[in-house]
């Protein structure tokens, strides 16, 4: 009876996943000019000037909205990312700091010398599927934070996916333990690099975390100025930090 319930619940969740994926409109059929500002649609692509669109020299397919002045939403195809890293970059610095403080707390309380063992041999399916899935999971995490300015995602989810890969290693191998020196030094250097980017922005543009690189063409990998660099540093920092937390909850003291 329990098995029947489990099958029903699993089938229901899979059905919901596909039903909700069906509600997303197909690629290329979304009329972007209904949703976002004309400045965003016109920015930097083949050097079109939004003011010409607005004044009617050039036609765009439907009615358009104009918010603010040109130069906002600096060049990244994913608007959320451009808000998080351009307008609200100081918030992101604060989030990184909060995460660092919590990781320090976990390390202080749970630190140990010996790896905790689950006391049972890992399942055959878990061991084999880890070997197959691990590279894919790490690749997906890296993709999420490298393409943060083009597709949904960013530094925090990408880093968390990498930490989930480390957790899978811990579950599938009783002997595995993370090299803490590498993870801590990666975390520290990447956190400093983010602040250094902010200081370079202060020196070049006169504001902390200013976007000092050229925007490039929307949609290419090296566009949106400093956004991909910042997200790479944040992704590596969050990934190594949460991997360290996962490693620390698997440690125990002697005796």
């Amino acid at each position: 009876m329990r098995r029947l319930y489990a099958i029903l619940v699993g089938a229901g969740l899979v059905y919901m996943l596909f039903a909700f994926l069906g509600t997303i409109s197909p690629y290329g059929n979304v009329n972007l000019s209904d949703r976002v500002s004309a400045h965003f649609l016109a920015k930097d692509v083949n050097s079109v000037d939004a003011s010409k669109w607005v004044s009617g020299d050039k036609q765009i397919p439907s009615k358009m909205k104009v918010f603010g002045k040109k130069g906002f939403e600096d060049g990244s195809a994913n608007v959320v990312t451009s808000i998080v890293v351009n307008y609200r970059s100081f918030d992101t610095l604060g989030e990184v700091t909060v995460l660092f403080a919590s990781a320090v707390g976990v390390g202080l309380i749970l630190g140990g010398t010996r790896r905790m063992r689950y006391g049972r041999k890992p399942n055959f399916i878990l061991r084999v599927s880890t070997g197959i899935l691990l590279p894919l999971i790490i690749l997906f995490g890296v993709y999420i934070f490298v393409h943060g300015h083009l597709t949904p995602g960013g530094g925090f989810p990408g880093g968390t996916v990498i930490a989930a890969a480390v957790l899978l290693l811990y579950l599938s191998n009783e002997e595995f333990s993370l090299n803490m020196v590498v993870s801590k030094s990666l975390e520290g250097s990447m956190g400093s690099l983010y602040v250094i980017f902010g200081l370079i922005g202060l020196a070049v543009g006169g504001a902390f975390l200013f976007n000092f690189l050229p925007n490039g063409v929307v949609g290419s990998l090296f566009s949106a100025g400093v956004v991909p660099l910042v997200y790479m540093t944040i992704g590596l920092k969050v990934g190594s930090e949460l991997s360290g937390v996962v490693a620390e909850i698997h440690e125990e003291r002697e005796g």
């Binding site: 919901m16 994926l21 994913n78 949904p152 995602g153 989810p157 909850i249 698997h250």
Partner: protein, 80 residues
Amino acid sequence: MSALIWLAGGIMIVAAVFAVEAKKILDAVIAMSALSLVSVFLFIAMRAPDVAITEASVGAGLVTAVLLVTLFRMKGGDDK
């Protein structure tokens, strides 16, 4: 579409009440994980893919795993 959203919201409420009222902590953790998973579907329906990815990786993945490892370390916490 609208019925699906109502269904997802109903499942979330049921899972939340179950997580509070469950006798075993393990059941409560599983209900919390199901709550996060269904909220991921809702975020997809609300055109917020960024939040959906974050919720899937943090809420449904890492937090559940951390709670389960904590439960394993507090041996016997399950019986209460």
